[in-house]
Symmetry: C2
């Protein structure tokens, strides 16, 4: 009999959330534990396994589960290991997929969060039926999941799809990765806040943003000001969208996708971000690509997206 459920586990620096998902993308039941509480990886795995076992038992035991998909920072699909993740409590290389399989006796596949988002869009979201698309996650950082010929692109070593670390301004802002001018330093939520601070310090015009404490300004504040028609806030979105659009034009020259899908925080700024992205993407593309590449918003419900994305990978794991 075909197994009716997959498990999705999303490992974040603060929380680990997980759920049982059916084929149509409904989360049947779910749970969470605090990632940061477990300084020892063995304690973490024991507690996570026990909690996941509970929700498995609620749907009839492991014989109902096709597979477990895990999204985690620096998750390597090929090795099943989390490798040197800066924001997790455990150092070095963690063979997470193997450790979970040993405890739960269900096959486990692991990838990073942006790849999980891409598989989620393909399975349940905006990319259903598409074989060539790119998901760009705009959050604290900028991530990407690339699908070509219906397959997620892992590259020869499992680390493909780091489009947040392509260079958009040579010699530009210093990035956490050690490089300069990475797309992420301008177009992540943090990057937008950085732009806001720069604009407020180097320009003279009035802005609603001047009423806020310069040090604690967030991208959400820029959005709120833009909604009220604040000119400086709109210019910040225009600048952010320009850089994203220019980058997208280069990504299109690589894989000529049917669509680019925006996922996460900043993508919810709607027309403030979509309009300038579309304009500058079209202006910077070769004529053969113009007016052909869709620019879409994620169709995964925000609160469920991480678990859904990870669970989508669970459908694809092989039985061992």
């Amino acid at each position: 009999m075909e197994k009716p459920y997959a498990i999705g586990i999303d490992i974040g620096g603060t929380n680990t959330i997980f759920g049982v998902v059916d084929k149509r993308g409904h989360i049947i039941n779910q749970g969470s534990i605090k990632t940061g509480t477990y300084k020892e990886i063995n304690d973490y795995i024991s507690n996570l396994s026990a909690s996941v076992q509970e929700i498995i038992d609620q749907v009839g035991g492991s014989s109902s589960i096709k597979g477990i998909g895990v999204g985690a920072p620096n998750g390597n699909f090929f090795t099943g290991c989390i490798e040197f993740a800066p924001n997790l409590p455990w150092k070095g290389v963690i063979p997470l997929a193997q450790m979970l399989t040993d405890k739960l006796n269900v096959p486990v596949a692991l990838t990073n969060d942006a790849n999980a988002a891409a598989i989620g869009e393909m399975t349940y979201g905006a990319a259903r039926g598409m074989k060539d698309f790119i998901v760009i996650t705009l959050g604290t950082g900028v991530g990407s999941g690339i699908v070509i010929n219906g397959q997620l692109v892992y590259g020869h070593d499992g680390f493909a799809g780091e489009l947040g670390h392509t260079t958009i301004i040579p010699g530009g802002r210093v990035c956490g990765c050690g490089k300069k001018g990475c797309l992420e330093t301008y177009t992540s939520a943090t990057g937008v806040a950085r732009t806001a601070k720069e604009y407020l310090q180097t320009r003279k015009e009035p802005s609603l943003l001047r009423e806020l404490d310069l040090e604690t300004i967030e991208s959400k504040d820029v959005y709120d000001a833009a909604v009220k028609g604040d000119k400086l806030a709109l210019e910040i979105f225009e600048y952010t969208g320009k850089l994203l659009g220019e980058s997208f034009a280069d990504f299109v020259a690589f894989s000529s996708p049917e669509a680019i899908i925006l996922f996460g925080g900043l993508s919810k700024s709607g027309k403030f971000i979509f309009d300038p992205v579309r304009k500058h993407m079209e202006e910077n593309m070769l004529p053969i690509y113009r007016n052909k590449i869709k620019l879409l918003m994620s169709e995964l419900k925000e609160s469920d997206a991480a678990v859904l994305g990870a669970s989508a990978l669970g459908w694809e794991v092989k039985d061992y």
Copy 2:
């Protein structure tokens, strides 16, 4: 019985060359016609078919031929059409694959020259056994053929892999495509000559290149001067390699290939181009990619490469 031969046809603006190739990449016999002579596509197809039929008959007729692969500017794999090629005599959309199949009764597949080069490297050259690599062709223009998971990347519309038209210097040199700052405008043979002219006009230091007519300087002249230790010529290579290396770092962030393979004219400048490319590529890559991505020279013999590349596609065509 397995069919022992494939045909490769390379359509250039001046000449069309073709040959019968065996599985090990030996060209058994070959021929050519003058592309530019035929203003009417029907005349061209008639003459090309007659000439190709001759070499087919020499190896035992069409029952010995697995397929015909064609490399042509703006060749679209999905449609089998040459679409709006600026350097060929025929306007609009030419259903070349269908026209040739009708005449020769052998299945025909078509793609652009850079894609043909990539399939050629995978079948007979430097990429044998690789599943993830990128071929960059450095000629009059800059082209690319991208292989991921053992498959050539065509994109949703057949036009993927135009890496020569990614932006390396925002607002930079005007490109034939209508954009500004494309990689091609700096790192093609023409781009190198353009750099040489700029350097000679804006700088004062002595150089062997000053003995030449500024208007007719070619990339080959820069190479000859570099071989003699000319400092300005070496700086031109350093600058060209820097831009290529920076671009390659971004390409790696996309597909994390096992290797990037340089093909065509400029790639034969050896260490003058490879050393700066390698240095700047490594400096601009994320730490996870460093010292892992091979930078290789094409292993297809120059005079045979175009026919071999196209023929490699001939092995992959489906019987209808």
